[in-house]
Amino acid sequence: MTSVSATRDAAWKRWVIGLALPLLLLAVWQIVGTTLQGPRMPVPTKVVAAAGIMIASGDLPMAILQSLGRVFAGFMVAAIIAIPLGLAMGQSRAVERNVDPLVETFRPVAAIAILPLAILWLGTGTAAAVMIVAYAAFFPLIVNTVAGAKNVNPTLLHAAATMGISRLTTIRTVVVPAALPSIFVGLRIALAVGWTAIVAAELAVGAKAGGGGSGGIGQMMFIFYAYSIELNRIIVCMIAVGLIALVLDRMLRALMRASMPWEHA
């Protein structure tokens, strides 16, 4: 019993120590904010109130859902192209040698940089945003899939070949499971990058497309900045962006554990 209470005591202490600094910073922010008395000065209590209003009215959940829908659409597009291509590149030296120059040439180009082209080709709506997410997610996915597909134990491949299993079946039953941990790393990075890219794309579309925006949390933030200057609400959006990033990552990690019990260590 003593050891249980001791560990509980230690956990409790950790919480107190960990929460001390954030609470202190919040308190300082609240005090400075209220003493400065600016009409637009954001303070924690007002941020919480703004969050309540935005959630109750349904605006914030709607915007988040819209952005999430775009992220998943772009993410799927990237996965459908990058995973099969990456597997082929990892398994065939000829494919890799010929495709790799393209990947390496376009990889250093930041996804946001092609936003002007996306707007030009696809307009300021969902399609352009999906394209940016797909572009951003494509590179971490393909690089990690190639690495995973290359790392397959050659003995397993030889065994499959000896048993006369066709190339496609080999890829499905040997290569994919072996590459899965690496693919999941790619998926995690891609999801994080895609979520950042969607916020940037929506912000930039809201900022530069001349009002013809298309919703989403990024645009919501820009409207609060440009038209109504409500800093409390901007901060609510920022917190929401962070929380969603965290939840997405946790969900993917849970999926990873569920689909690969052998990788538990």
Binding site: A20, L21, A245
Partner: protein, 254 residues
């Protein structure tokens, strides 16, 4: 030195890019709309014009300069913080939750608030890039310090080496590989953030130039600047990798 392999590789690279450019050219002729998709030749002309004009290099220099300043600020804040966190468990317990709370909020999400605070100018992109580079460098430094062989520190302590010297001569060199990997991530993230920040809130730089030419519907110029972003991004990454090899040859990945 055997030159056969690099030459063969360059040949494959050129062949792939030639196919890409041929496809691009055909699609461009087929769409027949130089605003939507100019031919490679028109883009090349626009790029050489911008290069002769030095505008291409001027904007690139501005963006690159901002990135160097941001990385310098981020490192000078993050490395001491990371070292202290790595060396003092209590300090880490106090500071770590705050960092973990802030980290998921991407630098780009700070743009509207930062626009309000700093206005349009140099300060905004520098702030956003510093923020973006800060977290990977802190975490990399902490990780680096944690992986330092305890026996080396104990040995130094036994010999009566003062704490300051231990940090400078034992901890930092041992943490360097992890730190440089973190620096690479930080540079990549801040270079991505610069484009977003300049696209929205800067009066100059590559992101601004892209936006400017897009509004004029000068697609060849837009493409030239996009290519420049890729080139600088590549050079930065190659630079940090060179630092990796030069200063931590025992740990360099490639």
């Amino acid at each position: 030195m055997n030159w056969r392999r690099p030459i063969a590789n360059a040949g494959v690279y050129l062949r792939t890019m030639a196919v890409f450019i041929a496809v691009w050219w055909l699609v461009a002729i087929w769409t027949d709309n130089p605003i939507l998709l100019p031919t490679p030749l028109i883009v090349l002309e626009a790029a050489s014009e911008l290069a002769l004009d030095l505008d291409l290099f001027r904007q690139a220099g501005i963006s690159f300069g901002r990135m160097v300043v941001s990385i310098a600020i981020a490192s000078s804040l993050a490395i001491p913080l990371g070292l202290t966190m790595g060396l003092s468990p209590l300090f880490e317990k106090v500071v770590d939750p705050t960092i973990e709370v802030l980290r998921p909020i991407s630098g780009i999400a700070w743009i509207p608030l930062a626009l309000f605070i700093f206005g349009i100018g140099n300060a905004l992109p520098v702030f956003i890039m510093t923020y973006a580079a800060f977290f990977p460098i802190v975490l990399g430094t902490v990780l680096g310090v944690r992986t330092v062989d305890r026996r080396l520190i104990d040995a130094a302590r036994t010999m009566g080496v003062p704490q300051r010297t231990i940090v400078l001569r034992v901890v930092i060199p041992a943490a360097l590989p992890s730190l440089l990997v973190a620096l690479r991530v930080g540079v990549a993230l801040s270079w991505t953030a610069v484009v977003a920040a300049e696209l929205i809130g800067a009066p100059s730089g590559l992101g601004y130039a892209i936006q400017w030419y897009r509004e004029l519907l000068m697609t060849p110029q837009v493409m030239s600047f996009i290519a420049m972003i890729g080139v600088i991004g590549y050079i930065c990454d190659a630079g940090v990798r060179w630092l990796n090899r030069r200063y931590t040859p025992w740990a360099a990945a490639r």
